[in-house]
Amino acid sequence: MTILYALTGAGIIGCAIFMILSRNLVRMLLGLSLLATGTNLLLFLAGRIGSEQPPIIRDGAKALGVSADPVAQALILTAIVIGFALTVMLGVLVLRAWRSGGTVDAREVDAAEMVGPAQERDDLHG
């Protein structure tokens, strides 16, 4: 099971990287969202796959019995939420870029690299 999940997680990450390398910013955004998902699955393996029992103390018990690793779950929960915030934030940026430039092609969204007199720009790209 562990190997299967590792393959799945890494496979998702591979697909995500492939999408991130696209020049369409929305595609890149979706890739980054996928990247977070794949990462979370890999993180889950840090706590190992074993018990299917959730880490919830039964009524009446004082301590937790055999269960999945709670620490890894807490980390992933934090990571999910952070990944969500980052993805949406990037979405807002892409929307802004679209509104100001009318394009979501990364090659045309290049205002940041074009600073200084035109002469210099020609030098840089020519």
């Binding site: 393996l45 796959i49 039964r58 779950q73 915030a85 929307l95 990364a106 030098d123």
Partner: protein
């Protein structure tokens, strides 16, 4: 000596303020500082005279190996006399020279000159090589500022940059040399370095050390091939040229060479290099001096030639060379400074410094002419001036040394050229050519003519009565450099010696040069080879090449294509992992195969399939759905492996992502034409695949390793007993590792601020968004559903401590309820229902979360120690609830900030 340096430094900052108040006489007042310093040094003469070395030390930073140690011996003493004495004259002179400048600029000039004096004194007094380096660099910077003093002039700026770049290069070499010496000897003491010269030369770093020292000295003293900065540095105001670029700073290279003579002499090749460079320098400079058109540049080239002679003398062995070096150092400082002063007066008076255009100035500038004659006679080596004596020593040293005759021949020629230059710069402007200048811009004044006259007279007096100066300065200086006392006998008449013959030859050739100067000059100017071969051009060209190369390199690296940037990152990362794994030489391990559970395996494969589908989707909408599919199947995977909290959160996140990204997709075109060529796609796929494989290897190997976490075990034990909660994950989030959650809450809050700032309506111009046209049944149903969701979110929040749930999920579900509302009734309506602005919710939530830790802190426990109140008649209450409520509010506010902003922006 510390006191002297300190006074010099403080004085340099304070005294020039006088120039703000006083007009013409400011120079005289300010000159009191260097005169006082000179007096202080003279009072130390009895100590130095006896051959004693005065040392002082302070702890500065012993752990760094840096002690502030100073040392006054004969050689330093000679430099100190020159530095302070000529500084006094320069300041007086500058008082008269800068009359036309605004007061602010004059103040700046005086400050720089006096600071430079301090730096010079520091350099020659330093015993610790690090301290010497400190002051050495300071002289370079001050020289830069003085050369570029007239900063509006592009030529001055260029000259300043050139001077700085060359001398800073030398400074870095000196830094390297000093550090290497420290590495070899374990000490930065100069005396130690001289004592252990053999050790240094024999160490593996010996060659680089000597090379670095030589380069440092050659750059500072303008030796070939670094000489080109000095003539350009004449853009500095004349007093600065006289002080820095002839009398003192450029002699620092000589100072360094003389100090380290034992070190480079200990290598087989050191002396040879020094003598060769000196000879080349002399030849080049002598020719250029005859070619020079300007008064100041003729002097500059003759200075380079003189520096070449000094370098030659340091390179030669034997005591006579040392005597000659010390004598010539003094003589040159006296006459060359005087000549620069004269050149300054001429420039000041006529605004003209082309030697061919000047003439007949003796009538209008009589005192200047007098001073110039005195100094030139000394420079030409005519008895009884001091220049004559030093030239005698020079020839004596060469005859006595073990070298062949080549340096001697060169020295004769160069000296003859110097005679020629001395004659030309005196005769042409002042005595020949008739009265060309009737109108003078400025006449002579006492402060302008007194300094050169004084120097010229000093040159005469010293040679007539050399006793005092020999006793207090020359003899100790020679002893300090040579290492033991040498009998120095200074007299104008030594009888008929070979040296006298050589002197006569030199003067004879020199006279011929003066006679035929015009012809020689024009012939030399016509030879364009000089301009072509000028190292200055080479330097400029290499600098320009450097700029061009840098620009091209940067353009190549920083090309602006985000895809290639990211490819470099992912590829680089994969390479890094590959290197690490291969270099570590570990063998991958495999975990126990375990049993394959069919349903979870299928779910995982569906997730992978979704990811693959997303890469292949033509439409962005399809890609988003496929991405969502992966997300949901991973959520299911969590569910199937005992992580209901994760599953809940992942579900909620995926649902919200779909809602939010749909708003984005509504705005942008859905069709995404290929932006990569098939070749690019292939290379991207390869890189992504390699990266994935690396990760698999690492993760599988990790999973095969031993398992067990002390923290996990502790949390399982203490969750209920210490944290009062059944849901261990939630207790970890709000209690054990609450600080992470706090940080994460801040992350979400900041994302909300960002979204708000980017999507906020700016100005009042925004129109009311139209209510969406949806089916009335959806509206009716939506309202009910949204209220149900809101209620559910509160339940999730409340029970989170014991059952799956908590602030995050609660907040996300509550946000979903508003998302429904805004879908059904439009953004405006949803915002009205919320009443408070989303960011206000975020702010309140942040405050709640942060405040929930304070009671613990107040109670004397660490921050975020949760307190509980457990009445029998009511469920237990704890500060964790405030914490979780804060998280809930922040998440709700943030998601709503995104939602409202995106929806409004998308429907525009």
């Amino acid at each position: 000596m510390f006191v002297i340096l300190l006074i010099s430094l403080i004085g340099a900052c304070v005294m020039p303020l006088a120039a703000r108040v006083i007009g013409r006489g400011a120079g005289l007042v300010i000159a009191l500082l260097p005169i006082g310093l000179l007096a202080a040094f003279v009072s130390m003469a009895p100590v130095v005279e006896r051959g004693w070395v005065l040392g002082e030390g302070r702890n500065w930073a012993p752990r760094i190996g840096l002690d502030l140690t100073l040392r006054l011996d004969g050689f330093s003493f000679l430099f100190c006399l020159l530095v302070t004495g000529i500084c006094a004259l320069v300041v007086i002179y500058a008082g008269g020279y800068l009359t036309g400048k605004p007061r602010q600029e004059r103040t700046r000039f005086f400050t720089l000159i006096l600071l430079f004096q301090t730096a010079m004194l520091g350099t020659v007094l330093a015993e610790s090589l690090l301290v010497m380096l400190l002051f050495w660099e300071a002289t370079s910077i001050l020289s830069f500022l003085l050369v570029g003093f007239d900063s509006r002039s592009a030529r001055a700026r260029r000259a300043a940059l050139m001077a700085l770049q060359v001398t800073a290069f030398g400074g870095l070499m000196l830094l390297a040399a000093v550090l290497m010496i420290g590495h070899v000897l374990g000490s930065y003491s100069m005396a130690e370095a001289v004592r252990q010269a053999e050790t240094i030369a024999a160490s593996p770093l010996g060659t680089p050390i000597v090379a670095c020292i030589l380069i440092a000295a050659f750059t500072k003293s303008a030796q070939f091939p670094f000489h080109f900065w000095l003539p350009n540095a004449m853009q500095a105001p004349t007093p600065a040229s006289a002080y820095l670029h002839s009398a003192t700073m450029v002699k620092l290279g000589i100072y360094l060479l003389a100090r380290f003579e034992p070190v480079f002499a200990a290598t087989g090749w050191g002396r040879g290099v020094v003598v060769t460079v000196a000879c080349l320098t002399m030849l080049v400079a002598a020719l250029q001096a005859l070619r020079a058109e300007n008064f100041k540049s003729a002097l500059a080239y003759s200075t380079i030639a003189s520096l070449g002679i000094l370098t030659l003398l340091v390179g030669l062995d034997g005591p006579a060379a040392t005597v000659a070096m010390v004598g010539f150092l003094l003589a040159h400082a006296l006459y060359k400074a005087a000549l620069f002063f004269c050149a300054g007066v001429v420039l000041h008076a006529t605004g003209q410094q082309n030697l061919r255009a000047l003439g007949g100035l003796a009538r209008v500038l009589p005192f200047t002419a007098l001073a110039c004659v005195g100094a030139s006679l000394s420079m030409a080596g005519i008895p009884p001036f001091i220049g004559f004596i030093s030239k005698e020593f020079l020839f004596e040293a060469q005859i006595e040394s073990s070298w062949e005759t080549a340096p001697l021949a060169i020295a004769v020629i160069v000296n003859a050229a110097m005679v020629g230059v001395a004659g030309v710069v005196t005769l042409r402007p002042f005595f020949l050519g008739g009265a060309k200048h009737r109108e003078l811009r400025n006449g002579e004044s006492l402060s302008l003519v007194a300094p050169p006259l004084l120097l010229a007279v000093a040159g005469l007096l010293i040679s007539l009565d050399p006793d005092w100066i020999t006793r207090v300065a020359l003899r100790p200086a020679v002893a300090a450099v040579y290492g033991r006392a040498v009998d120095v006998d200074i007299a104008v008449w030594h009888g008929l010696t070979p040296m006298l013959m050589l002197s006569a030859v030199v003067i004879g050739i020199g006279a011929l040069i003066v006679r035929y100067w015009r012809q020689i000059h024009i012939r030399l100017r016509g030879a364009e080879r000089f301009d072509r071969l000028a190292l200055e051009k080479l330097w400029e060209r290499s600098l320009r090449g450097l700029m061009h190369g840098s620009r091209a390199l940067t353009g190549w690296v920083q090309h602006g294509d985000l895809r290639r940037y990211l490819l470099v990152v992912v590829g680089g990362m994969a390479a890094l992992i590959a290197w690490s794994v291969i270099a570590a030489g570990a063998v991958p391990r495999l975990p126990d195969a375990g049993t394959l559970r069919l349903a979870p395996a299928l779910v995982a494969l569906v997730g992978l399939g979704g990811a693959v589908a997303a890469t292949r989707a033509q439409s962005l909408f399809t890609a988003m759905i496929a991405t969502g599919l992966t997300g949901f199947s991973i959520a299911l995977t969590f569910m199937l492996n005992g992580a209901p909290d994760l599953a809940l959160t992942q579900f909620a996140v995926e649902a919200l992502l779909v809602v939010l990204l749909t708003a984005l997709l509504m705005a942008v075109p859905l069709a995404s034409p290929a932006t990569r060529t098939p070749a690019m796609r292939r290379s991207d796929a390869v890189v992504a695949g390699v990266m994935a494989l690396m990760l698999v290897a690492g993760i599988v190997d990790m999973a095969a390793g031993p398992q067990g976490s002390a923290a996990s075990a502790f949390y399982s034990e203490m969750s209920y007993l210490g944290g009062k909660g059944h849901n261990v994950v939630n207790v970890i989030l709000v209690d054990f590792r609450a600080f992470d959650t706090l940080g994460e809450t801040m992350v979400i809050a900041m994302a909300a601020v960002l979204a708000r700032s980017l999507l906020m309506r700016r100005g009042r111009a925004a129109q009311e968004a139209a209510q969406p046209s949806v089916h009335f049944s959806f509206q009716a149903f939506g309202r009910v559903l949204s209220w149900t969701l809101l209620a559910a979110s509160l339940v999730i929040l409340w029970r989170g401590h014991d059952q799956p749930g908590g602030g995050f999920v609660g907040g996300l579900v509550a946000a979903l309820s508003f998302a429904l509302l805004s879908l059904a009734y439009g953004v405006e309506r949803a915002e009205r229902t919320l009443r408070a602005g989303p960011l206000t919710l975020v702010g309140i939530g942040m405050a709640c979360t942060l405040a929930s830790g304070l009671p613990g802190l107040i109670a004397g426990r660490p921050y975020l120690t949760h307190l509980w109140w457990e009445p029998v008649w009511f469920p237990k209450l704890g500060t964790t609830m405030i914490f979780d409520l804060g998280v809930y509010l922040v998440v709700l506010g943030a998601v709503l900030a995104f939602l409202f902003g995106l929806q409004r922006e998308a429907t525009k």
